[in-house]
Structures are given as C-alpha cells and as structure tokens.
Amino acid sequence: MSSERFSVIKATGGNRIALAIAAAAAVVLFTVPFWTDQSTPRTLVTLLTLIAISQMWNLLGGYAGLVSVGQQGYLGLGAYGLWFFADRLGVHPFLSVGLAALLAGAISIPTAGLVFRLRGGYFAIGTWVTAEVFRLLVANIRETGGGSGITITSVAQMGTGTRMMGTYWLALLVAVGTVVVVYLLLRSRLGLALTAIRDNESAVESLGINVFRAKLWAYIISAVGTGAAGAIIYLNLLRVQPSAAFGISWTAIMIFAVVIGGMGTIEGPIIGAFLFFVLQETMAEYGTWYLITLGILAVAVTVRFPAGIWGTVNERWSLSLFPVRRILRMEEGWSSASGDLPRDRGSNV
C-alpha cells in the first residue's frame, strides 16, 4: 500500500465554517453580562455547567466505553474543594475553582486503580460506590458541617456583581474548554485509541496500544472537568450539602443528556444539555416529572435510536460541526477498498 494513493482528511470546508460560527457564538456569549440583566448570566451558568458535565460524561461513555454512574463523586469533590481552598486556605474563590478541579483529578487516579478492575455494569456500580464513599467521608467530617452542609462564606462575602460575572465567565470557560479539550483530544492519537477501544477493546490491545493508559487519561480528564463544573455550580449556589453535591441526579442528568443528544458525538451532549435545561425550566413546578420524562425518553432512545438526535442527523446527512472522524480519500484508479468507504468520499478538502 503506497502512501500517495490515499490521503486522510480530518475536516471539510463545511466543518471549518461551522467551527467559525461556534467560535463567534462563544464570543457573543462572552459579552452577555454587558447587555443583559443580572438574572440572565445566572441562568446561563446552569446551562453552561450542564454542557460541561455532559461533555465530560460523553468522553467516558461515548468515547472510552466506560459507563460511569459515579461522576457525581467528582462534582461533589469540586464543590467541597472550592470550600476547602477558598474558606480554609484563603485562596481567591475563582482560583480555588481551578485547584478544586485539580483535586478531583488527583483523587480520580487512585480511584481508577480500583474501579478499572471491574468491567461493564460492575464497573458502573463500582464507580457509584466510590462516589458514595466520598459523600460519606465528607458527611462524617465535623469541619465540613457534616450532613447538613456548609456555606462557602468567602464566596458569599464577595460583591454580587463581581461574583456573578466571574462565575459566568468561569462557566463559559469550562463549557467551551471541555468542548475544545474533547475535540482536540479526539483528533489526537489518544482519541483514535479511545474510539478504537470503544469499538473493539481486544483488537486494540493486540495492536500494542496501552488500553489502560488511554482509559485512565479519559477518566482523569473527565474528573477534572466535572470537578471544575461542580465548583462553579456551588459558586452560584453558595451552600453545599453532601446529599445534594454527591447526588445521583447529577449523573442521571449527564447520562440522559448524552444519550438523548447523541452518544459519541461532541454535538450530542450540547443538544442534550440544552433540551434538559429547557425541560427543567418549563416543568419546574411539576416536581421531578421532568426527570421522569427525560428518563423515559432516554430509555426509548437507547432501545430504538441508539445514535441519539445528533447521531441520527449525522447518519442521514453526514453533518458534523466538530469533525473528529478521519475520512480516507482515495486517489483515482484505486478501487480495491472503495466498497468500504464512508459516504464522505470525495467531499471537498
């Protein structure tokens, strides 16, 4: 197989236009606090953090094939990390968000050493147990206020304007950051390894790829991103309680958003998070019915349309805003493998 007979395409013209639009949208979002009232950024923080945590779950479930139901553990660690660095050590709250994220990442390493011994559904419940362990440890420490929780005073004492704007920009940074990190990661060698692991783990292992290390990176990055989002959520809420911060509902949100939006795509979690956000805002007065509705929708999608909303769009029209697939483009006269080529063959470079 000589190399000049085919080339690997990572993006098309349409993709580049889409990326430019996404970048423009990020810039517009950056200016939001300057031309809206105070409640808009506050509401948008919820949406942006939802996008971040869903994106981080998608990196695990959609790309590394690791179905975790314990990501609420890292969200809670991020929240309590914020309290620890800001209130106990006196670090500036905004800087504490970064430190809290790193703390979550650091704790995820030994945790991975344990839960990676398990597979499939047993891995899933194993991660759940670790999140429960984090929750119980925090709830049993007197300094954190135990089960009744604690107010993050250094954040509460900040000026409202500074806190709201800072929180909003941090949320935007984390939402855009998680999308960019996942995008760049998937276009790298590690990303290729991850998607290959998801599709056939033993085949990848036989090619000499270090499966454990690839999964570990996905797990750590996911913990860091989820921890950062957790810290930001509690910059907004001010009071942190173990049962809420380490609640399984967070992971339910992530999974439902990713599954409905489209697992294994970057666009999917964004769409799913948006859908979740809209349902939550409109059905707020009907208790937890929005969660039941989304759950039923997620189960139905998994059974009938496993590709989710964006996956279905992608299958039908080959549309991708964040291209992470590699398209093999054959030169003229090369036909032996043309039957297996993706539909994108010949799309403009």
């Binding site: 839960v115 559904g121 899933a124 194993g126 709830a139 339910a252 599954v259 937890t288 039941i292 059974v303």
Partner: protein
C-alpha cells in the same frame, strides 16, 4: 459480650444481603446484564406490599403470596418488553436502560408516595427473640431471613442443576447461539430469569421493609449492598453470595458499633479492600451461574 452480639447481628444481616445478591447474580449469569434498577425494584415491591397491607390489612409476610408472583410478572414483562431489545453486542445499552429505569422508578415512587419513610409491620414476630445467654439474644425474624436465604440459594441451585429449565438457563449462559440451535427459546429464558430474579428481590424488599424503614430513594443503596455482596463473595458463586453477605453485614455492624455514622462506610471500605487485594472475590466461580 456486646461485641459478640454485634457480630451475630451482622452475620444474620448477611442473610438479607444474600437474598438481594442472588437475584442480581442470577441474571448476570444468564444474560450478562447488571440490573441497575435492582434496588429500586425491591422498593417497588415494598410499596406494593404496603398498599396491600393498608387496603386489606394483611400481614406483609402473608401478602408475599401476592407480591412475589406480581414481581415475577413485572420482571417477565420488563424483559420481553424492553430489555430483550437491548441485548446486542453493545454491552452499554442494558446498563443505560436499567439506569434509566432506576431513575424513572425512584422519581415515580417519589411522586406517588412522597419522600416519607415507610415501614411494614409484621406483628410480634418482628421483635421476638431467643435468649442464648443472659446478655446474648438472637431475633427470630433475622434468623428466619437467614434460613430463607439458605432455602432460596439451595432451591435455586437445585433448579439450575436438576431441572430441564435450569439446564436451559445454564446452556444459555454458556453459549446462547448453541443453546438456540438446541431449541432453547433464549428470549423466554431471559424473561423467566428476570422474573425469578425479581421474585427473589420482592421477598428481599419486603423483609427488609419489615426490618428497617424505606423511602422511594433508598433503592440505590440496596443495589449497592447487593452488588458489594456479589463482588466480595465472588462473581457467579451462589454460596459465595452468602459469605459475601455475612462479611458485608459484619463489617457494617462493627462500623456502626464503633460510630453511628460509619456503618455503611465500613461496608464500602471492606468492599474496596476486597477489590484491591482479591478482585476475584472469595469464592470465584465465574464460568457457571
């Protein structure tokens, strides 16, 4: 003597955890599904029992005659109606679907029965005890649960090894394609396995509802106990679940004895220790059910 008493209570608690675990273990053995809604389905059974108790005033132990078959049907329908469609090469789909069912069930129960703690009253048997020495007593009820667990495990083993349907279960577990070629109806076998699993979990849910309180959100913790029992005992070993249950029960009892908040945590830590030092569990037998 108190410490002996604490350990004894823990051992008997193990019987209850084994009841929870065998159902989880059975369906994993037959169809390689880990049912994340296992705990919530046990809570559903407890609430169904509560409804029967409240409307016709039956003792919850007698109500089991209705609750167990009902949950068997729920399992069969759930398997044939939903879960069978997720059994492809992709092992992720059943996990996602059962997780979704878990969240749906929790919140639907919450909307129906509110977040109040409930309990099932089985009458005097609940608190009766045998006095062994002056300060050592065993409750009749925990003892009955332990005996029930031994009976269920023995019965399940007999069913799997000695009956024709049990052979079909094991054949499907070993090689579903080959079993199909031999005329086994896989989908029906899966439905029956899920039915039996939920029948057992109905028993577990009701007796646990008699022993302690429950509310719509206690399901996940029950799932975790069942799961820790399975892993500590060794995947796929039915007598292992009894040992796993006893170890988990004793760890929790000792933890709670040391400090009230540490009972469940102590159980988790023993589970993590097993995972770190003996990930295959104590009595591994993964090849069979």
């Amino acid at each position: 003597m108190t410490i002996v008493n604490v350990i004894l209570q823990g051992v008997l608690l193990g019987g209850l955890y084994a009841l929870y675990a065998v159902g989880l273990s059975l369906i994993f053995g037959v169809m390689r599904i880990v049912n994340l809604a296992h705990g919530d389905l046990s809570i559903l059974a407890a609430f169904i029992s509560l409804l029967i108790v409240d409307t016709i005033g039956l003792n919850p132990l007698l109500a089991l005659v209705a609750v167990i078959p009902l949950m068997f049907v729920v399992g069969y329908v759930l398997q044939l109606g939903i879960l069978n469609f997720t059994l492809s090469s992709d092992e992720m789909r059943p996990i996602l679907v059962t997780f979704g069912m878990s969240i749906i069930l929790q919140n639907a129960l919450l909307e129906t029965f509110t977040a109040d703690s409930q309990g099932l009253d089985a009458g005097p048997v609940e608190n009766a005890s045998v006095t062994l020495t002056s300060n050592l007593a065993i409750g009749w009820f925990p003892l009955i649960i332990m005996v029930a667990a031994v009976v269920v495990i023995t019965g399940l083993n007999f069913f799997l090894t000695r009956t024709q349907l049990g052979r079909a279960f094991r054949a499907t577990s070993d090689d579903q394609e080959a079993a199909r070629l031999m005329g086994v109806n896989n989908r029906r076998v899966y439905g029956l396995a899920m039915g039996i699993s939920l029948g057992i979990v109905a028993l577990a849910g009701v007796v646990m509802g008699i022993r302690t309180t429950f509310d719509p959100l206690t399901g996940p913790l029950r799932l975790i106990f069942a799961y820790e029992t399975v892993i500590i005992g060794g995947l796929g070993s039915s007598w292992g679940t009894l040992i796993g249950g006893v170890i988990l029960g004793v760890a929790q009892a000792l933890g709670a004895y040391a400090s009230p908040g540490w009972g469940i945590l102590a159980g988790h830590l023993v589970f993590l220790a097993v995972l770190a030092f003996r990930p295959q569990g104590l009595l591994p037998k993964t090849a069979e059910i």
